[in-house]
């Protein structure tokens, strides 16, 4: 599935080149380890020079990521990774900029920068580690925690209706929106590569298990016994099928998605064909979001929900400067300082 890019700069890098000398300080068993590993695995495939890569993070467990990745990096302040990265990318469009953020960092305190980044469409990759909890501050509920979540700050259950991060990103006019999970290395690598290849802002939500404060939040999608029935892997141009033997499919009844069984007479030809360029379909499938406990719920989709192309902010910024310089010539400081009207005192 994963298309492998080969290094084009002569240097051959391996995943090991991206490890740093810093001790990794996540809890043993944390989903962050797998994500780190998959990122280190795909980085050498991008044909980039190591020094041209930058990882920017906010604050949170996930945000320690840059310390463990031998590229340029900044562990900034809570919620602002997206804004720091925007400035960097605007200033240095040629760099490959990656943002690592959490559900608290990127959707609570940093929610605004995230949606503004998406509408501006800087060519960057946002990896949102969603563990549906505040890990670093030891277990408060987050804006993605399901309703009634009992956590440190909600001993009687939370009353916040959570964000649907995919729907929010679509609402903010993101040009690439995808979901993956820590426990499916192949899928995650593929999604990371797809995020990188997209020219524009890539929003990749990654389900990540916090085994200390929110263990098994995604077990239905990650555990062998339930994964096939609960996780729906979207493949471009292919019908939406899932289930142990791919025996289940999604059909649209008008606008209403329904589950049909191919072994019980439904035909593959009637199934919804995934089209990641179709915004309407993306909107519908983004709403496959019911809790697994809900009777008759739809499976949770993974893969690319939506992809489109729009000029990137940094390209337009550079173009505008180039156009002005072409039209007016390079600025002359002496002329600028003199302004439009001067007089001479002798």
């Amino acid at each position: 599935m994963a298309e492998t890019l080969t290094a084009t700069n002569g240097e051959v890098l391996t995943a090991k080149d991206f490890a740093t000398d810093q001790e990794i300080r996540w809890c043993p068993g944390c989903g962050d380890y797998s994500i780190l590993k998959q990122v280190h695995t795909i980085l050498p495939q991008l044909g980039l020079k190591q020094e041209d890569i930058v990882f920017i993070s906010g604050i949170g467990c996930s945000s320690r990521f840059p310390y463990y990745t031998e590229t340029f990096g900044m562990h900034s302040i809570h919620g602002r990774a997206t804004a720091v990265a925007s400035g960097l990318k605007a200033a240095r469009p040629e760099l490959s900029v990656w943002i690592v953020t959490g559900d608290g960092d990127g959707l609570s305190i940093g929610g605004n920068h995230t949606i503004h980044l998406l509408r501006r469409n800087f060519d960057m990759n946002i990896l949102l580690f969603n563990n549906e909890i505040y890990g670093l501050t030891k277990g408060q509920y987050s804006p993605t925690s399901p309703e009634n979540k009992v956590a440190k700050s909600t001993p009687f259950g939370s009353i916040d209706h959570p964000f649907n991060p995919i729907a929010l990103a679509l609402g903010a006019d993101a040009t690439f929106v995808a979901r993956s999970m820590d426990r499916d290395p192949a899928h995650l690598q593929n999604m990371l590569l797809r995020s990188y290849k997209h020219h524009g802002s890539s929003f990749l939500e990654i389900y990540q298990n916090c085994n200390i404060f929110n263990d098994m939040a995604f077990e239905s999608y990650t555990e062998k016994s339930t994964k096939k029935d609960e996780a729906l892997f979207m493949v471009q141009g292919q019908p939406l099928v899932f289930g142990a033997n791919n025996e289940k499919g999604i059909k649209l009844d008008g606008f209403k998605p329904v589950i049909v069984n191919l072994e019980e007479g439904a035909s593959k030809d009637d199934l919804w064909i995934h089209d990641e360029h179709d915004m309407v379909k993306a909107n519908i499938i983004s709403r496959f979001f019911d809790h697994v406990d809900v009777e008759g719920h739809l499976p949770r989709p993974f893969g690319v929900f939506y992809q489109t192309t729009r000029p990137t902010y940094e390209d337009m910024m550079s173009q505008q400067i180039a156009q002005v310089i072409t039209a007016k010539g390079e600025g002359k400081l002496d002329k600028l300082l003199a302004g439009s009207e001067t007089w001479v005192i002798e």
């Binding site: 740093t20 810093q22 020079k49 190591q50 020094e51 041209d52 890569i53 930058v54 990882f55 920017i56 604050i59 840059p66 310390y67 990745t69 031998e70 590229t71 340029f72 990096g73 900044m74 562990h75 900034s76 302040i77 602002r80 804004a83 720091v84 990265a85 925007s86 400035g87 960097l88 990318k89 605007a90 200033a91 240095r92 040629e94 760099l95 605004n112 920068h113 503004h116 910024m317 505008q320 400067i321 002005v324 310089i325 007016k328 010539g329 390079e330 600025g331 400081l333 002496d334 600028l336 300082l337 003199a338 302004g339 009207e341 001067t342 007089w343 001479v344 005192i345 002798e346």
Partner: protein
């Protein structure tokens, strides 16, 4: 022909043009200013906008003013109070009456004093008719009627005709001050070249205003203000915010660093963003962020990438940036933060000036977080000040706060602008690629205690920085107790050491030892200088020193202060620098404060100083 008018020579004069926002007073003032500048006067100006965008016509809230101070001697401020006040309507009179000298001249447009206008201005009695203006020379003229009359045969709507009113006043003032009108004629021709009717109308009214003076019997006095003796050179007029924008471009050019501005609009700082957005041909990148936090953090990102990174704001926006200022401090990267101060606290007085954000700049962050501070002292000085802020920031690898204020940001003065070649180079060097196997130390230090600026894209320099306490040299995270204390003191010392790279404090006017030193900072420069100079002329032994560097202070400041029996620190706040000086130099400095959203008047300063010296 009118009776022979006498011509009185003045050393200086202050004129204020005041009218409704729609009356074109800013344009009128600017034209007179240009005229005076081209003629060779020294001058200072200050516009006085309404807080509202377009308050209802005729109301006090809608009054727009422009004050000009020009002379044949050195001018340091837009003037305390005016010699001549032009008022286009009742509201303009009402809101400016206390800004005019006893015995001064009021030129009033009588049609702005009809029942409707009086009511809009909430005036119960008509000042044109009662004796409330007995202390002034009032020149009443029905500008509206005369404008219309001058244009009877012109094919324009009444509204458009009325829009020429300000030219009548301008023409009259040109007559009164015995001026040529070439610059305005040229200006109008350039502006309305494509609308001949409008051009014709404006020119005609301008001339009508001039002739009105010439032909009317009532006015027997004209004035003359000779050229000032100013250093030879080429001048332009400049406002503070403009100068700040230019200084940034200049610093970018002379350092070879691309300029990046992350900003969010806020009065009175927005114009810096507006200006820089125009300078695309200099490669300037301006990013209007979603808020002030994104503005400063995007600048931090750009700085990490090797730009000359800047963020501009005013008080409330500065408040939002304080967390990120802490980050920049620990990262030890260059960043210039410009706060164009306005009246606070909170939203406060958004269009009025104040110097009350000094404490915020000094102390307004969590933890021990020292940041160098530079202050600009006049409109044109914003250029030098921001240039200096950039120099310190990139050469010392440190965020620097520049404080200007609404008064100098919007005020204007003649500026003998420098040539590119005269500007001192800002030398910086990025860290060089590492040889194979060598390990880069991001927190290694030079004699300034600054660390290398290692930008992405440089081979072998890959490193990670962040807001957790750093180990010196390696830049690794460190929770070591001793390291923390060491780093807190190091960051402090790094700021202090900047004092080795800045000039010593000079005395601006007055004796170098004596009874009283007036110590100022920021936009009060002109007023302090004018007051002290005049007192010196009167024989008082008072000196004036003005701080450019607010943190660290020049090394000799303590010595300077101790050369005087007393130190007076006047500020447009409730006493901020004075507290820092009292603590630091342990001298019982006196405070003199004004907190009215207004600059100091020379006269009040002189009174205060005289009182102290008594």
């Amino acid at each position: 022909m009118a009776e022979q008018t006498t011509i009185t020579e003045l050393e200086e004069a202050v004129i204020k043009f005041a009218g409704d926002s729609g009356d074109g007073m800013q344009l009128t003032g600017t034209q007179f200013t240009t005229n005076a500048a081209l003629f060779g006067n020294d001058l200072g100006t200050f516009p006085d906008f309404p807080a509202e965008i377009r308050a209802p016509i005729g109301t006090v809230a809608g009054v727009s003013g422009f004050q000009l101070h020009f002379g044949s001697k050195e001018i340091f401020t837009p003037g305390d109070i005016c010699d001549v006040l032009v008022v286009m309507n009742s509201a303009a009179l009402k809101s400016n009456i206390r800004n005019i000298k006893k015995g001064g001249i009021i030129i009033a447009n009588t049609s702005g004093f009809d029942a409707k206008n009086l009511k809009l201005a909430n005036m119960t009695s008509n000042a044109m008719e009662d004796d409330s203006l007995g202390n002034y020379q009032v020149i009443k003229m029905d500008v509206t009627r005369m404008t219309r009359e001058a244009l009877t045969d012109i094919q324009l709507g009444m509204k458009e005709k009325d829009r020429c009113k300000n030219m009548f006043v301008l023409g009259f003032l040109y007559w009164m001050f015995n001026r040529e009108m070439d610059n305005t004629i040229k200006f109008l021709t350039d502006k309305f070249g494509k609308k001949p009717e409008v051009l014709e109308a404006n020119l005609r009214v301008l001339k009508a205003g001039y002739s009105y003076g010439d032909t009317t019997e009532t006015f027997t006095t004209r004035y003359k203000v000779e050229k000032a003796v100013m250093p030879a050179g080429t001048y332009r007029s400049i406002m503070g915010n403009q100068a700040t924008a230019l200084g940034l471009v200049a610093a970018s050019k002379k350092s070879g660093l691309p300029l990046f501005l992350g900003s969010y609009p806020i009065t009175p700082a927005s114009d810096i963003l507006h200006d820089l957005a125009k300078y695309k041909s200099f490669g300037v990148k301006t990013f209007q962020a979603e808020d002030e936090i994104a503005a400063i953090t995007s600048a931090i990102g750009a700085s990490f990438g090797g730009s000359l990174a800047v963020t501009t704001t005013s008080g409330p926006g500065m408040a939002l940036k304080t967390e990120a200022l802490g980050l920049a401090t620990v990262l030890e990267i260059p960043l210039v933060i410009i706060n164009v101060q306005r009246g606070g606290p909170s939203t406060g007085l958004p269009t009025k000036t104040e110097q009350a954000d000094l404490f915020q700049a000094y102390y307004g962050r969590n933890g021990e977080c020292p940041i160098p501070i530079v202050a600009a002292q006049s409109p044109s000085d914003c250029f030098n000040a921001v240039y200096e802020a950039c120099r310190i920031s990139v050469q010392h690898m440190i965020p620097v706060i520049l404080l200007t204020d609404g008064y100098i940001a919007n005020g204007a003065e003649p500026w003998r602008f420098p040539k590119e070649s005269e500007l001192e180079e800002i030398k910086i060097e990025f860290a060089k690629p590492m040889a194979e196997g060598e390990k880069f130390m991001p927190y290694a230090r030079d004699e300034k205690l600054s660390r290398p600026w290692a930008i992405p894209g440089t081979k072998g320099l890959e490193h990670r920085i962040g807001g957790l306490e750093k180990q010196n040299i390696t830049g690794n995270i460190s929770y070591e107790p001793e390291n923390h204390e060491f780093m807190v003191k190091l960051r402090e010392e790094k700021v202090e050491r900047i004092a080795n790279y800045i000039p010593e404090q000079k005395i601006d006017s007055g004796p170098s030892k004596g009874k009283l030193l007036v110590l100022g900072w920021g936009g009060t420069y002109g007023a302090l200088k004018a007051a002290v100079r005049e007192l010196n002329e009167e024989g008082f032994a008072v000196a004036h020193a003005h701080l450019r560097h607010m943190r660290p202070f020049p090394k000799n400041l303590g010595e300077v202060l101790h050369n005087y029996d007393k130190v007076l620190i006047p500020e447009i706040n409730n006493g901020q620098l004075v507290k820092i000086i009292r603590d630091k130099y342990f001298i019982d400095a006196l405070a003199y404060n004004k907190i009215q959203g207004l600059p100091f008047f020379k006269s009040e300063l002189m009174d205060k100083i005289r009182e102290i010296l008594k």
